[in-house]
């Protein structure tokens, strides 16, 4: 159980103008599972490697339980990193791979054997100790890499894109494994991903990072319902943005005014911004509901389990998705009432570029 704090962490490379990581602050209570989420090149892996000690920060501090660790070499830090491509040593057996950390620590071979067995059981891969990494599937390699990291009982577990190299069906399995192991052992875990789905599936809280800067640090559902900016909303799959001005809990746009449910205390939507709603949250064809305006169907694509509509709303176009379970369909060119449920609408800060 280790409480990790990151204070003003900065990494700048000489000859590069923008720092890879800038003034990052994160407070990760012990035993939590945190995702660093962002597009590739946003500085999230750099951050992970700084925590592991593999990259030296330019400025700032990292503390484990209040003690600064930035001057401790990686091998003594107790922060073990599991790499995206697993990096199992190809010339060693699975058992030797898993026992590597204990061997480095000078533990006697007998204890190592026993602990290797325990660890392989923990990741649900008993009896493969003598195989070579090459003989394992990607999912198995991933689990061996996890066992290899956990055997040293690290204070902090660092995972680089833990699910991204796996097939869809293996992802679920791996996700459950990581969650159960992490809960059982209570290890503070930080993982990096570029995939919002991966972050949502695993993390207690997500730190969204763009251009080396922390954008928002919140739980997954808050991210979906109350993204802080247009960019975050877009990153999470948002496509509908209507410029508007907020007064209290009401947003005035040029297609009408919409009421929205206020968020938590620390979530203060901007006065001047963009109204956003996810396509699947839009209610079509219920003229009497709250926050409903008239639009017209521009195009309609039937995708099987759902239908995707492109709708004209004043001078704007928005997208709505309607599940096949819901009765009723709308033809191209048809006028249709478009409802924005108040607890699904949110106001975001527009991108600076926009």
């Amino acid at each position: 159980m280790t409480h990790v704090r990151i204070n003003n962490l900065t990494k700048a490379y000489s000859g590069v103008d923008a720092p890879a990581v800038a003034d990052l602050d994160l407070d990760i209570p012990s035993g939590r599972l945190i995702a660093l989420l962002g597009p590739s090149g946003c500085g999230k892996t750099t951050t992970l490697k700084m925590i592991a000690g593999l990259i030296r920060p330019t400025a700032g501090d990292i503390t484990f339980d209040g003690d600064s660790i930035v001057r401790i070499p990686p091998e003594k830090r107790g922060a073990v990193m599991v790499f995206q491509n697993y990096l199992l040593f190809p010339y060693m057996s699975v058992g030797q791979n898993v026992g590597f950390g204990l061997k480095m620590a000078g533990v006697d071979p007998k204890t190592i054997d026993q602990r290797v067995k325990e660890m392989l059981n923990l990741v649900r891969l008993p009896d493969i100790s003598d195989r070579r990494p090459k003989q394992l599937s990607g999912g198995q390699q991933q689990r061996v890499a996890l066992a290899r990291a956990l055997i040293t009982k690290p204070r902090v577990l660092l995972l680089d894109e833990p699910l991204s190299n796996l097939d869809a069906h293996l992802r679920d399995e791996m996700r459950e494994l990581i969650l159960s192991v992490q809960r059982d052992l209570g290890i503070t875990t930080i993982f990096v991903t570029h995939d919002q789905e991966e972050a949502v599936l695993l993390a207690d809280r997500i730190a969204m990072i763009f251009d080396g800067r922390l954008q928002q640090f919140a739980s997954p559902d808050v991210f979906y319902r109350h993204p802080a900016s247009e960019r975050i909303a877009r990153f999470l799959g948002g496509v509908n943005f209507l410029p508007g001005k907020r007064q209290g809990d009401t947003v005035e746009t040029d297609v009408g005014s919409f009421r929205f449910a206020p968020g938590g205390e620390d979530e203060r939507p901007p006065e001047d911004g963009l109204l956003t709603i996810r396509p699947e949250q839009i209610v079509l064809g219920q003229p009497t509901a709250e926050n409903t305006v008239q639009g017209r169907v521009v195009s309609r694509i039937f995708v099987g389990t759902y239908t995707r509509y492109r709708l004209a709303l004043g001078s704007h176009q928005i997208e709505a998705v309607r599940s096949a379970d819901v009765a009723g369909d709308f033809a191209e060119g048809q006028d249709v009432p478009i409802g924005f449920p108040a607890d699904r609408v949110w106001m975001v800060r527009p991108d600076q570029a926009a």
């Binding site: 484990f64 003690d67 001057r71």
Partner: protein, 315 residues
């Protein structure tokens, strides 16, 4: 195991000082290593231009071009002029003759080995067929078996074949001729050409050629516009290595040339026994100049190109 000793860390100032010391040690090591490795080349330069270099002087008091004049590459002392220089070279001193011969044999061997080796490399790199392993074994073996093992037999074989051909009325004269020497240089050269080029062809997609043919290009234009540009970098490396391997052959040239084919290595080897260090050094510099040039040109193609790099093992 969880109690990592956080208190052990060194104070900031000390670790900064240690890092500075480490940097100095690092640079000192690198510089020492570079100097030691290039000592032979340094020695060549000093010896080739030294004059009356008495022990224990490290740097000679006097410099001169006497070694180069002795080799006939420069006009005698006090007579330097452009006309004299031309006249000197026009009289074809031994060194110039050997240099020309080495270049000529090198180019010939390179050209022939590429023309012969390219189809073989293509077959090995792009197709799988029965007996491929055996063919690869045959081609690779000369790179492992020491040249002395086959060159003695080859020496006798050439003499026998000459006699047999003479008896049949053909006076080819393989033994002791430039032709014969060039042919035997193919033995150490071919494996590297084929290895390098088959690596290139293994990564080459022949569908491009098929595409060109369907777009109306004939076989020759397909080769010229599609195949050739695609394999050019690898081809270039293969040429450089072929030349370099031929350029540095001593034993084969000595045994097959019968003392009648005097290339640079033959000249250098006989000079090595003369004890005139200045002349030896000057000859060595002439001998390594193209090799270093080749390194400069090819160094960016080298890393990872293992088939080609193996060629350096035989230089």
């Amino acid at each position: 195991m969880t109690d990592v000793t956080v208190k052990e860390l060194a104070p900031a100032d000390r670790s900064a000082g240690k890092r500075a010391t480490g940097k100095i040690v690092f640079y000192a090591t690198v510089i020492f290593m570079c100097v030691v490795l290039v000592l032979p080349v340094i020695a060549f330069f000093i010896n080739a231009f030294a004059f009356r270099w008495f022990y224990p002087q490290l740097i000679p008091d006097e410099w001169s071009l006497q070694a180069w004049q002795r080799l006939g590459l420069l006009p005698p002392p006090g007579q330097f002029s452009i006309e004299n220089l031309f006249a000197q070279w026009a009289s074809v001193p031994d060194v110039v003759r050997a240099l020309g011969l080495s270049l000529w044999i090198g180019f010939l061997v390179t050209g022939v080995s590429i023309v012969i080796g390219m189809p073989a490399a293509r077959a090995l790199g792009m197709y799988s067929f029965r007996g491929k392993r055996l063919i690869e074994f045959i081609i690779i073996t000369p790179t492992i078996v020491p040249p002395i093992a086959f060159s003695l037999g080859l020496n006798i074989n050439f003499i026998r074949w000459d006699l047999a051909l003479e008896a049949a009325g053909i006076n080819l004269g393989l033994s002791g001729s430039v032709l014969g020497v060039s042919i035997v240089h193919l033995v150490p050269v071919m494996p590297y050409v084929v290895l390098t080029l088959s690596g290139v062809f293994a990564n080459y997609n022949a569908d491009f050629e098929a595409q060109a043919r369907t777009l109306g290009a004939g076989p020759f234009r397909t080769f010229w516009h599609v195949t050739f540009p695609a394999i050019l970098p690898g081809l270039f490396v293969a040429c450089l290595f072929a030349f370099l391997v031929s350029w540095s052959q001593y034993l084969l040239t000595f045994l097959i040339g019968q003392g009648r084919v005097i290339t640079l290595p033959i000249l250098l080897f006989s000079a090595a026994g003369s004890g005139n260090n200045a002349v030896i050094a000057a000859l060595s510099l002439i001998f390594i100049a193209p090799a270093v040039l080749i390194l400069l040109v090819s160094s960016r193609y080298l890393s990872g190109e293992s088939g080609a790099v193996g060629g350096f093992g035989r230089v």
